[in-house]
């Protein structure tokens, strides 16, 4: 019988189950419990979005640690602790804040193993919120995962469903490398789906074929997977049979599944909510242009936001985010080519 959870619930369950399993897992972040030092309730928030609610009650202050607003210090501390026997899961509240602490992520965590000749292990998970649509404007709405994907030594996970969120988190926390785990803020409540209660893992580097189809491949991540599904349903009525590939992890990237899909369909549309320049859409498009060129029957189409910051006004923000209409047009255009 299906057990329907939201993305939020799936994540909360994953956190709890993993912390129960492994006492070396600790959580750190700003207000992940809430009320530290304050006269009122502890666990007042359970995180900015309530995703870590209840953990402090279960695991105590030594394992669920509220931090000051000092991202370099506490993310760096998580990284350092990871080299000393803990498996920290640290929250960077919004990925937009990476600019105050990126060094600890990309020059320290990512490079230890290589710089030290394979003699270090840094099992840290950095959880962070991504995405537009919250009317939170330029400094709270970015995706930015291409910046992390660029960096050798990091693994990047971008789940689109509750099932994937739970399974990929469990893999992330058991992984021995630094993992950045990107949660789309608009999926927490809106994405719902079947989630087994028992713990399970989903291997990194294995894309999901979200929909089988023979005419066009859409590669999409996070919220865009859902948009792509809506579009595919619509286009089926026009006789266009869309295959949807969700890479789920973008570093490592399951190149094979993408290339196989394009080999089958001969057409590729990459849909991504991150900025276009040096972004994921470009990354995947270039992969296919290099390795599946002879399979292509039409130009590759990228559907991304424009090269602009995220605007505040709702109508502008909605126009910024790749729309179902733009995705559908792109698919139609490669069918015509």
């Amino acid at each position: 019988m299906a057990r329907i959870l939201s993305y939020r619930q799936a994540l909360s369950e994953a956190f709890r189950q993993e912390m129960e399993r492994d006492p070396t897992i600790i959580m750190l972040g700003e207000d992940i419990a809430g009320g530290k030092g304050a006269p009122g309730d502890q666990d007042a928030w359970g995180g900015d979005m309530g995703i870590t609610k209840g953990l402090i009650g279960r695991f105590g202050e030594a394992r669920v640690i509220d931090t000051p607003i000092s991202e370099s210090a506490f993310i760096g501390a998580a990284v350092g602790a990871a080299t000393c026997g803990l498996r920290p899961v640290v929250e960077l509240m919004f990925v937009d804040f990476m600019g105050v602490c990126f060094d600890q992520i990309f020059n320290q965590a990512a490079k230890f193993r290589y710089m030290f000749g394979g003699k270090a292990r840094t099992p840290v998970v950095i959880r962070t919120q991504i995405g537009a649509g919250y009317r939170a404007a330029a400094q709270h709405s970015q995706c930015l995962y291409p910046l992390f994907t660029h960096i050798p030594g990091l693994k990047c996970v971008v789940p689109s469903t509750p099932y994937d969120a739970k399974g990929l988190f469990m893999t992330a926390v058991r992984d021995d490398d630094p993992v950045v785990f990107f949660e789309h803020k608009l999926l927490y409540d809106k994405a719902k789906g079947d989630v087994p209660e028992a713990p399970y893992t989903i291997p990194f580097g294995e894309a999901a074929i979200v929909r089988d189809g023979k005419d066009v491949t859409i590669v999409a991540l996070a919220r865009m997977v859902h948009f792509a599904q809506d579009v595919a349903t619509d286009l089926a009525k026009e006789g266009i049979d869309v295959e949807i590939v969700d890479p789920r992890t973008i570093s490592p990237l399951d190149e094979e599944t993408i290339l196989d899909s394009v080999a089958k369909t001969g057409r590729l549309v990459v849909v991504d909510e991150a900025y276009p320049r040096c972004g994921m859409a470009a990354d995947i498009a270039s992969l296919v242009a290099e390795h599946a060129f002879d399979d292509l029957k039409a130009p590759i189409r990228k559907v991304t936001p424009p090269h602009t910051p995220v605007p505040f006004a709702p109508e502008l923000e909605d126009a910024f985010i790749p729309s179902r209409a733009r995705i559908a047009d792109a698919v139609r255009s490669v069918m015509r080519a």
């Binding site: 700003e30 809430g34 009320g35 304050a38 006269p39 000051p68 607003i69 009317r135 006004a313 109508e315």
Partner: protein, 326 residues
Amino acid sequence: MTTGLQLSRDKLLEAYRRMATIRVFEETVHDLFESGALPGFVHLYAGEEASAVGVCSHLDDDDRIISTHRGHGHCIAKGCEVVGMMKELFGSSEGTCRGKGGSMHIADMGKGMMGANAIVGGGPPLACGAALAAKTLGTGKVAVAFTGDGGSNQGTTFESLNFAAIFKLPVVFVFENNGYAETTASSWSVACGDIVKRAPAFGMPGVQVDGFDFFAVHDAAAEAVQRARTGGGPTLIEVKLGRFFGHHEGDNQSYRGKGEVEALRRDHDCLHRFRKRVGDAKLLGGGELDAVDAEVKALVERAVAEARTAPRPAADQLLTDVYVSY
């Protein structure tokens, strides 16, 4: 140096007007948000008015301030126009930032307001820059960085204190310690207890003031601003105060003490205090202050009315204003 109680009647009335405007603006935004009329993240400044106004009463349009995510009060204190601000919160193309910034990025360079800033600790380096420009160009202007207690722990903030001190920049660092960063108590997060105790570590004078008292803030700021203007370098001011609302709209505030907010509103309302001080000193009458209240209320009501029906941005606005040229 003129103390707050020596200010002219006009100046006192203007200070009250700005504080009252902030209060009414924020109470109104609170209601609008609850009713679903406003989108996004909104952080209200109600309760903290004496800080912004006490500091900004020493500044003119060419002095610069930089604010935080909790920026409405600093805007109004610095002279930003209320109707445009309300339109901005509604995302209208007639808003202060043409609807592109919203509450967390509201700015008005023409008024010397370099922006709310949704990155905690984002402002202090920028204020150093404004001060550096003033110093280099010899304009005699000063810059003020408003930062919260939470923001006082950000590395960018610490760096800026040291940077400003070694260059003797004309900047004032105002730390508005309202006791909380989101849910986290400042008494815990600031290791040395009081932010003001950090001043010696950065080689600058520091002072702690009662932020519910316009006059206390005014006088401390007078000294700091004058020091900055006359080449004496930076000052750290810790303003102790409290917010009347949650961290942002939607916050249930369960981390606060029982009755804490009620006590704040009852015993530590800067507007009441101001009224009492100027009344006791017979500087302004209750009637004139009531008139200001009415005027302010009407202004904010008009702002809302206009904002509700103000023009929306056209689709092509998405692509403009990224670069001056590209």
